[in-house]
């Protein structure tokens, strides 16, 4: 799969960066931008697969409405990447289909 980004975030002199990972691959991005913007600039094409058809999906609205940009962030699935700012060390994974809840016995008795 091509990893040549469609989007480029111009570097500002003196601006700080953070390092995130997508599927284990390190990406260095400007601090303060959204996860969706960071992944697009980092060359990520497929953010998730459709729950209905398994078709590949990527961000569409970039403003919290379309739910196309869902990813797993630090172990929490189904997050809207356009609404979450990047933080250093953030581990992001592709969202494959729908999230699963753990309903096995004792999984959440402490809640």
């Amino acid at each position: 799969m091509a990893t040549e980004p469609y989007f480029v975030i111009p570097a500002k002199p003196g601006s700080s960066t953070v390092t995130i990972t997508f599927e284990g691959r390190k990406i260095v991005v400007p601090a303060g931008i959204s996860v969706a913007a960071a992944l697009l600039a980092g060359g990520v094409g497929v953010f998730r697969t459709s729950i209905v058809s398994a078709a590949p999906r990527a961000p569409f609205c970039m403003m919290g409405v379309c739910f196309e940009c869902l990813v797993e962030i630090d172990g929490i699935s189904g997050r809207q990447s356009c609404m979450v700012p990047v933080t250093d060390g953030m581990a992001i994974r592709r969202q494959e289909g729908s999230s699963a809840l753990d309903v096995s016995e004792g999984a959440k008795d402490d809640v």
Partner: protein, 386 residues
């Protein structure tokens, strides 16, 4: 129901005021029976109970104070599977009926005991609603992941759920294919009788006139003011229900419950509140929080689910919660129908009420229980079950 004489041509034009689940189902059944159906539906600002329906297809626990309603509901459940097939074949739209049985869940021993007594009481009236009372460990065999807050519950193998929005869509597509006319943006404010331009004329707020030989008022909350034009008493009042829906999740909840259900598509619907807030169909953060808390107590794993939407809708409830199905004695051919169980009773409304309002079947004897005058009895007090 007994068939009466066939139509004469001049009696075929049927006007239905209201294009929600009730009006659309009745219109569908009437059109199938040969009536020339015109449905007058309001605009986008209408208080559409059908679009807030929780989607249960449900009998157990209903009808504690009215045995004929238990039989009527059981009949509705019997007719549903075939009706679902027919709608699917005719329109290609899947109303999503699934009937694996349904669970009522209780949070205290006292609540579960009260439930058991009520269910036994229903069957003492001669009806046969199968049910079972289960404790938490029994429940976990069917509902893995249930929380410790759930003490016990009841199960009825007849219950199930469907998709209210897809059902409404299927009915409207069916109406279209049967040649029925659905007119949107019509707010009916008056009903005239034996006018020069028709036996029943529905008059809209913009002065347009819709004439027919028969008329059905299926206008939800609107029936409260319209029914008097047919000399029928229909004191319908709004009760707000707020519901929540989660993101689509992998299937984990294989039975509908009274507190939440997982749709075929995977989202979990949490419901519902019962609030006396007049005609306000909005949402409030305190009720959303209450629903979330209750949902997470029921299934602790739901704490990890993301909510995507909350909405409110107004149930058009009669004072005792049971329907009104009544033909006017003063104006024969004029009918009032009020029910807030538009999903559970969809098949009956189509297959039984459709021909009835078309004048093709006689009024079933049990419908004497569903007349609006029962609310005029000053010696009675009513509770709508919410």
């Amino acid at each position: 129901m007994q068939r009466t004489d066939m139509y004469t041509h001049r009696e075929k034009r049927l006007t239905i005021v209201g294009g929600g689940l009730l009006g659309a189902a009745i219109g569908y059944g009437a059109a199938k029976a040969g009536a020339e159906v015109t449905i007058l539906d309001q605009g986008d600002n209408a208080l559409r109970a059908s679009r807030g329906n929780f989607g249960l297809v449900w009998v157990h626990g209903k009808g504690t104070t009215m045995p004929p309603y238990v039989d009527w509901t059981l009949q509705g459940l019997r007719l549903w599977p075939e009706f679902q097939e027919e709608l699917l074949n005719r329109t290609g739209v899947d109303s999503g009926l699934e009937n694996p049985g349904g669970f009522w869940l209780g949070f205290s021993e006292a609540e579960v005991e009260k439930r058991a007594t009520a269910l036994e009481g229903i069957n003492k009236n001669g009806t046969k609603v199968p049910f079972e009372i289960l404790d938490r460990s029994d429940l976990r065999n069917y509902l893995p992941g249930i929380g410790d807050a759930v003490v016990g519950g009841s199960f009825c193998p007849l219950d199930g759920h469907a998709n209210p929005l897809m059902l409404l869509r299927a009915l409207h597509m069916g109406l279209n294919q049967l040649g029925a006319r659905v007119v949107n943006g019509v707010t009916v404010t008056d009903i005239q009788h034996d006018a020069p331009d028709g036996r029943f004329v529905a008059v809209a707020d913009d002065g347009t006139r819709w004439s027919g030989d028969r008329i059905v008022l299926a206008a939800g909350l609107g029936n409260a003011s319209l029914a008097s034009h047919l000399d029928i008493h229909a004191p319908v009042l709004p009760t707000r229900g707020q519901v929540l829906i989660t993101e689509r999740l992998q299937p984990f909840l294989h039975y509908p419950t009274n507190k939440c259900r997982q749709t075929k598509e995977g989202s979990v619907q949490l419901g519902s509140t019962a609030e006396d807030t007049g005609v306000d169909d909005g949402t409030t953060s305190d009720k959303i929080e209450w629903l979330v808390r209750r949902g997470v107590e029921t299934f602790p794993a739901l704490a990890d689910a993301k909510l995507v939407r909350a909405w409110g809708a107004l149930r058009p409830l009669t004072p005792d919660g049971y329907p009104i199905y009544q033909e006017s004695e003063r104006f024969p051919g004029g009918y009032v129908v009020s029910s807030h169980s538009g999903v559970t009773l969809a098949a009956s409304h189509a297959e039984l009420l459709g021909p009835w309002v078309s004048g093709l079947t006689q009024t079933p004897p049990e419908f004497t229980s569903f007349r609006g005058e029962r609310f005029l009895d000053t010696d009675s007090s009513f509770s709508n079950g919410y």
